[in-house]
């Protein structure tokens, strides 16, 4: 999925209602596509059964 100005405009109008300057609308898709690209890259790297809170367990289990 490629986020466009139109996508952001629609989501913002219908859901978020954040005041965003018109000039900024040109920049946001670039930033968002980078973030969403990073998200896409890790989609296959975690298990279905993984609870986000499991991070705390791993934190303690790898200490030694």
């Amino acid at each position: 999925m490629i986020v466009t100005i139109k996508t952001i405009g629609s989501i913002n109008d219908e859901m978020q209602e954040i005041p965003i300057a018109e000039a900024r609308m040109d920049e946001l898709p670039v930033e968002l596509n980078q973030l969403l690209g990073a998200a896409k890259a890790i989609r296959s790297l975690h298990d279905f059964d993984n609870n986000p809170a499991d991070f705390q367990r791993v934190l303690h289990s790898v200490r030694d």
């Binding site: 990073a38 975690h46 991070f55």
Partner: protein, 500 residues
């Protein structure tokens, strides 16, 4: 403008009776002491808390108009607490390890009856209803809060600039950035305005200002230190920790604030070791890893040479230096960190952004915007990936070495001109470069200690960071302390401050 209000508060209660009688040599003598040296001298009766506080306030009054490290200062309350500290000592009370030591903290740790602006217009009159756990613990240890320190608006930025405040200065060169977001903490400690300070670190906000100002900064394991009563920036990534002149000072401060807190569900039950007591344990045969990959990419050659040279001190004390390949997962970690940070920060700020959008500076307001358009499923996947990434990183790294040794800032500390706000690609590249070596540590939840190890040709300090296994703060502090035993970078007085 918030700056007007802040300065009014500052001046209204600033000059305590008797400060004008303070002699400059005593101020100088006290300013040369580290936190631990001062605390021990106070307990030994070499100085009183009252004369120490008077000297501290006189120094702040003399230097801070040039540095802009302070947002708020309550000299009357600080002097009153110093007098109480002297009475307690004279009475023979059991006193804490920070008894009578002047401290000040990033302006995001709440305490009723004084403002916690979080560097913002929106919170310029905000007073927390309960005292932050870290402040309460420092109070119990005997530390005296002098005031609150400059920070980037809502801690959202690595360079240290806050459009609502007078410009906080780098203590070595006023034409360069102090880094942030704990900018005032770095500048105030380096300039000897206070002996230690708290900061918060979501992507490098303790380690970067510590590095830019030539002091020591500890970003603890996630959950090691309570976040209760501290402004949230990104609750999955935020950690609170000390900035001070030396690793030993950081050990004393961390020992005071670490440990389980019932008011913070994310705080760990892990036992708090005697950080200070373990500083001189042998480091013979400890394995220090020098990363091959990620941390050496886009690394300035002069910074690389200084950081590499710092390994000699560890070699001389018997540690083994081992080259180690970085797992490729670090690049994914670096890319996904801002997604978590922006999603959580945007959620926190949503109501204010809608109602008071114009009260945010342009730069910080923009930083928040992308977070509102991140799908919830991608955010949750990014959190799910943390455990996987930490396990993979630990398997690849900590099976072979005990700590990693990397630069904090991969570039020399930039100038103000280099960091003037713009939306252009060079500016974004600089912002990303400042935190590229630090933010991955936050995502993995690991502890890291920033230690000054030399100066780049422009006369600005640069630092290495030691990254360890979860809850290995004791080891990091031990290595930092023994490095500072072999070197004297941490003893140097910032050149810009010396000229004032």
């Amino acid at each position: 403008m918030i700056s007007i209000i802040i300065l009014r508060i500052f001046n209204a209660s600033f000059i305590p009776c008797g400060i004008e009688t303070m002699t400059a040599p005593l101020e100088q003598q006290l300013a040369e002491l580290t936190l631990c040296e001062l605390a021990d001298a106070l307990q030994g009766g070499e100085f009183t808390a009252t004369e120490t506080m008077a000297a501290t306030l006189a120094r702040i009054e003399r230097l801070d108009p040039h540095l802009n490290a302070f947002i708020w200062c309550d000299s009357e309350r600080a002097m009153e607490r110093a007098r109480e500290a002297d009475v307690a000592l004279a009475r023979g009370d059991d006193v804490g390890p920070l008894h009578g030591v002047p401290l000040a903290h990033k302006d995001m740790f709440y305490r009723p009856v004084r403002p916690s602006t979080c560097g913002s217009v929106i919170r310029q009159d905000f007073e927390g209803r309960e005292t932050a756990t870290v402040l309460r613990r420092l109070d119990q240890a005997g530390g005296i809060e002098v005031g609150t320190l400059a920070m980037v608006e809502f801690a959202m930025g690595p360079h240290g600039y806050n459009g609502h405040l007078p410009r906080c200065r780098n203590s070595w060169n006023f034409d360069h950035i102090p880094c942030g977001s704990s900018s005032g903490s770095g500048t105030a400690v380096a300039s000897r305005l206070v002996y230690g300070a708290l900061g918060s670190d979501t992507g490098g906000s303790i380690r970067c200002p510590a590095a830019a100002n030539g002091i020591t900064g500890m970003s603890p394991t996630y959950g090691r230190v309570s976040s209760f009563g501290a402004m949230p920036m990104s609750f999955s990534l935020d950690v609170m920790g000390p900035l001070a002149r030396t690793a030993k000072d950081c050990a004393r401060l961390l020992g005071a604030i670490a440990g389980r807190d019932k008011k913070d569900a994310s705080s760990s039950r892990e036992r708090v070791p005697d950080y200070e007591g373990e500083l001189m344990r042998s480091i013979v045969d400890l394995r220090i890893g020098v990363p091959q990959g990620y941390f050496d990419e886009d690394l300035d050659p002069e910074v690389a040479a200084i950081v590499e040279e710092s390994l000699d001190a560890f070699r001389s004390r018997g540690a083994s230096i081992i080259k180690i390949d970085m797992p490729s997962i670090l690049h994914q970690v670096a890319d996904i960190h801002p997604l978590v940070m922006k999603a959580e920060a945007s959620a926190n700020h949503g109501n204010w952004k809608r109602a008071h959008g114009s009260d945010y500076s342009e730069e910080v307001g923009k930083r928040l915007e992308a977070g509102y358009f991140i799908p919830a499923s991608d955010y949750i996947n990014a959190l799910q990936f943390r455990g996987t990434a930490l396990q993979a990183f630990s398997d690849a790294v900590f099976s072979k070495v005990d700590v990693l040794h990397t630069p904090v800032l991969p570039i020399p500390t930039p100038s103000l001109a280099d960091t003037a706000y713009s939306s252009g690609p060079d500016y974004l590249k600089m912002v990303v470069a400042l935190t590229r070596n630090t933010k991955v540590v936050n995502y993995l939840g690991l502890p890291a200690l920033s230690v000054t190890c030399g100066f780049t040709p422009d006369g600005l300090p640069t630092s290495f960071q030691l990254i360890g296994r979860p809850f290995s703060e004791s080891l990091l502090l031990r290595l930092g302390h023994q490095y500072q035993h072999e070197t004297d970078w941490h003893k140097m007085m910032p050149s810009a401050v010396a000229l004032i």
